[in-house]
């Protein structure tokens, strides 16, 4: 697409699609919003890469709001060593995380990087993970130059403290190998067992034996390789004196294998290899179903994902860049605009205006003066500051949170315990039945007794039992994912179903950042009025005053005489002889004789009105809508019936009244909570009967999220940074929290229902086995049938009920 007419009002940047302020940046008929975008276009055009703009319209990344960063720390040998995946004499392979990747043009450009610089050998994008793997010749282009090249095209990689700690989440390839082998063997064994199924009388013992031996041969890799996990797990369980669900599975598989091998080697029967391999195959499929999670989402982030890799240190009047991990007490560090302070330190030079929003949740920047202590995790908003480090990175106020025991605990999965519990009683019952029936047959014939013993153990193998959980919960997880609620693993669902208390963080979780909207209702304010109002409100620190101050555009100020602020009511003062009052309706009307217009009485429960009068005349009011997320009211109404609600806020108490309206009188509201306070609050209310769900967004909630039974990170953009948690909720789906909680309960009920089904099958199977009538054909029909019916019941029931619940 090309822009035909440069209509200045609707001029969109050819590169990034943002509105152009004027038409000053252009090449030919293409207009750009800023110099940055124009440069990228020219760079791409010169290198015959303008195809970038034909795949998608305006695909570029806006340069607005980005600062040119300095990448000199990438020259450090140690840093390069740590970042690189692989390095030989010529080639380096490196993987970057680039959050800006958003469309197919991005992929195209990033994979054509070699055209921009011959030092790049090749590059490959993983779109979902937003990662790019680049192979480059480090003699032709240095790592720093490579990153600068990426940054110059708008795709600046994120290089944070944890980029060097590679914990690659590799696809579980072994599982796929195991499935492939199990499927191959299962299919061929079934084929070779057909003569048995159809009871075709195979006269020639040659074929009967050939098929038998082939089956045995094919069963070996399944038994020794594909099923090995179950033996290992059962063994580990036994060593810890636990009979887990894998124990009866391992026992069943072993017995199946041993009896079949015996029958074939002694030419006494056809064996049950088809059942055995089929069972292993189904179990492994269940495992894939359960493990197929959102590998491109990161649920394990700590402060290291937020902190920069390197920082500038002043040494001997020279500025050098060193890795943050090497930062020592007493170092002088230089922090520029928008950089994060990596360690607790004292302000030495410059004006600190620090945004602690992701440490405390408080959105207002904090001003710091020389000699004041600045905590790590704050973001410098204006200008350059020089600081002296007083604590090492890992010992800082914020990062210390991660030394709390909460972060050490390995989250044990509650549901595993539950299945294991079922598995234990199940195993004991089966062993009991086996013993009794064997004892009964023992009187008649020891051969039949042995037959019955093995048959009972084979049939009772809790395959269907072991399948119902992965399939039900795996499918539920997918349903949640479709509704933009992403779970870390399936055990979160069971925990969700047991939740009794729900704790919200305020800023960023139930309020939408930067949404507080304000509008003036009444005749349009003239510039002089605006200047007067602004002069008045700048004397107040009330959040409404600040909002109004930021809302008005005037920048001329007057002196205010007789300034008075009445807390909770309003503010008044004389400006150039005019009495200006701003505040509640009563406050503004105080000195009125006449009744005001009734239209001004209109109040809306969830919005706030700030009235304005000039010289005892109501001019109008500012309507300040609170910034709560859409659907918050509905959510709290629904949740209030079933759960205890609480709010933990890092902010001050200003919103208490509003929140009480939403949450009702029974809820607990706490303000000015530090990250450690939040963690302790969760710890206090968390008991075995009282499972706690925490919803938070920032790093300040990380402790509470980790401490709670289920921690959900609410985020506007799922690929953006969110703290370590059990689940990530897209803010869009915030209004559906109660549906999610309901559905988790339904999922658990579906599991119980499938348990019942699999028990019914077991009863039928056992009745065959006890009577000594289990033939290979019965086993071959019964066992896959029970697996398949449980699997299809679990999947269909979850899908059906999800649809009925509108998920």
């Amino acid at each position: 697409m090309s822009i035909s007419k440069p209509d200045i009002k609707n001029l969109k940047c050819f590169h990034c699609g943002e509105d152009c302020p004027d038409n000053s940046y252009h090449t030919g008929d293409k207009y750009f919003c800023c110099a940055g975008c124009k440069t990228v276009y020219e760079l791409l055009n010169e290198n015959n890469l303008s195809n970038y703009y034909t795949i998608m319209d305006m695909p570029g990344v806006s340069f607005k709001g980005t600062q040119s960063k300095r990448f000199d720390f990438l020259e450090d040998k140690e840093v390069i060593e740590k970042l690189a995946d692989f390095k030989n004499d010529e080639l380096t392979v490196i993987t970057f995380y680039i959050p800006q990747v958003h469309c197919s043009s991005c992929i195209w450009l990033l994979e054509n990087l070699y055209k921009l610089n011959p030092g790049v050998n090749s590059s490959k994008v993983n779109f979902l993970k937003k990662e790019i793997e680049i192979k480059f010749y480090h003699k032709k282009i240095s790592l720093r130059e490579l990153v600068e090249l990426l940054a110059s095209t708008g795709y600046e990689p994120v290089i944070q403290l944890d980029s060097v700690e590679k914990k690659k989440t590799k696809l579980n390839k072994k599982l796929y190998y195991k499935i492939g082998i199990a499927a191959f063997c299962f299919g061929n064994i079934m084929l070779l067992s057909f003569p048995e199924y159809l009871s075709i009388d195979v006269h020639e013992t040659f074929y009967r034996n050939l098929f038998g031996y082939l089956n045995l041969l094919l069963a070996l890799p399944v038994f020794f390789y594909s099923a090995s996990d179950y033996f290992i797990s059962a063994y580990k369980g036994l060593r810890n004196k636990i009979v887990n669900i894998d124990f009866p599975l391992a026992l069943g598989i072993t017995i199946l294998f041993a009896r079949s091998a015996f029958e074939i080697l002694t030419h006494s029967g056809a064996g049950y290899f088809d059942s055995m391999t089929g069972l292993v195959f189904f179990l492994l499929i269940g495992k894939v179903f359960q493990e197929k999670t959102y590998s491109y989402l990161n649920f394990e982030r700590s402060y290291k994902s937020y902190f920069p890799l390197a920082v500038h240190v002043k040494k001997d009047n020279q500025e050098i860049s060193i890795p943050v991990s090497k930062l020592k007490v007493g170092d002088r560090i230089i922090i520029r605009k928008n950089e994060i302070i990596p360690a607790d330190s004292i302000l030495f030079e410059g004006n600190g205006s620090i945004d602690y929003s992701f440490v405390t949740g408080e959105s207002k920047p904090v001003q710091k003066v020389l000699g004041e202590l600045v905590y790590a995790g704050g973001r410098q908003l204006n200008g350059i500051v020089e600081l002296e480090v007083v604590k090492e990175v890992s010992q800082s106020y914020l990062t210390q949170l991660w030394n709390n025991d909460t972060f050490l605990k390995k989250s044990e999965s509650g549901f595993e315990n539950f299945t294991n519990k079922v598995g234990k009683y199940f195993t004991l019952t089966v062993l009991l039945i086996a013993a009794i029936s064997t004892g009964y047959w023992m009187h008649q014939s020891s051969a039949i007794a042995l037959n019955v013993l093995t048959a009972v153990l084979i049939v009772a193998c809790p395959c269907a039992l072991a399948l119902s959980i992965p399939f039900t919960l795996g499918n539920s997880m997918r349903i949640f994912g479709r509704n933009k609620f992403y779970l870390k693993n399936i055990s979160v669902i069971e925990n969700l179903s047991k939740i009794k208390t729900i704790v919200f963080d305020k800023t960023g979780t139930i309020t939408e950042t930067g949404k507080a909207s304000i509008k003036f209702v009444g005749p349009e304010l003239n510039p002089f009025q605006q200047e007067m109002i602004k002069s008045l409100v700048r004397n107040s620190t009330h959040p409404f005053s600040i909002s109004i101050y930021e809302f008005l555009k005037a920048n001329k100020f007057y002196e205010v005489e007789d300034l008075e602020e009445y807390s909770g009511r309003g503010i008044s003062g004389f400006i150039l002889g005019n009495l200006v009052k701003i505040g509640s309706l009563n406050f503004v009307m105080e000195d009125f004789s006449e009744e005001p217009d009734s239209q001004h009485y209109e109040t809306d429960e969830f919005n706030s009105q700030v009235y304005l009068s000039i010289n005892s005349q109501i001019v109008g009011y500012f309507n300040i809508s609170n910034s709560y997320r859409d659907g918050f009211e509905k959510v709290t109404n629904l949740l209030n019936e079933k759960y205890k609600l609480a709010v933990l806020s890092g902010d001050n108490e200003n919103e208490r009244e509003n929140l009480e309206k939403y949450l009702g009188a029974n809820s607990q509201l706490f303000f000015e909570q530090s990250p450690a306070n939040k963690l302790n609050f969760i710890k206090r209310i968390k008991t075995s009967e009282n499972k706690v769900l925490m919803l938070g967004d920032g790093l300040n909630d990380a402790g509470a999220l980790a401490q709670s039974d289920v921690g959900i990170a609410v985020t506007e953009n799922i690929s953006y940074f969110s703290p370590a948690c059990d689940a990530i909720l897209d803010a869009e789906s915030f209004g559906r929290i109660s549906s999610f909680l309901n559905f988790s309960k339904i999922s658990v009920k579906i599991i119980f229902a499938s348990f019942i089904i699999s028990f019914l099958y077991n009863i039928v199977g056992l009745s065959f086995a006890i009577e000594g009538m289990l033939s290979p054909i019965v086993a071959a029909i019964l066992m896959p049938l029970s697996s398949i019916s449980v699997v299809s019941f679990a999947t269909l029931a979850t899908n059906f009920l999800a649809r009925r619940k509108g998920l």
């Binding site: 195209w108 993983n126 779109f127 390839k173």
Partner: protein, 56 residues
């Protein structure tokens, strides 16, 4: 009847070939990223057209 033995040997060999192909596919990373190739394939085509146009 011995033809059955031969047929079984052949069928097993063919199946084995597919198994090896599958294992090789997993090993070479074809299942690591199942999404990006679906996009990549689209503009690879575009690219070739462009080149053809250039040649003309």
């Amino acid at each position: 009847m011995s033809v059955i033995a031969v047929l079984i040997a052949i069928s097993l060999l063919i199946a084995l070939g597919f198994l090896i192909a599958f294992l090789w596919a997993v090993k070479s990373g074809q299942y690591n990223d199942t999404y990006t190739p679906s996009i990549r394939m689209l503009f690879d085509d575009d690219n070739k057209k462009e080149q053809k146009k250039d040649k003309q």
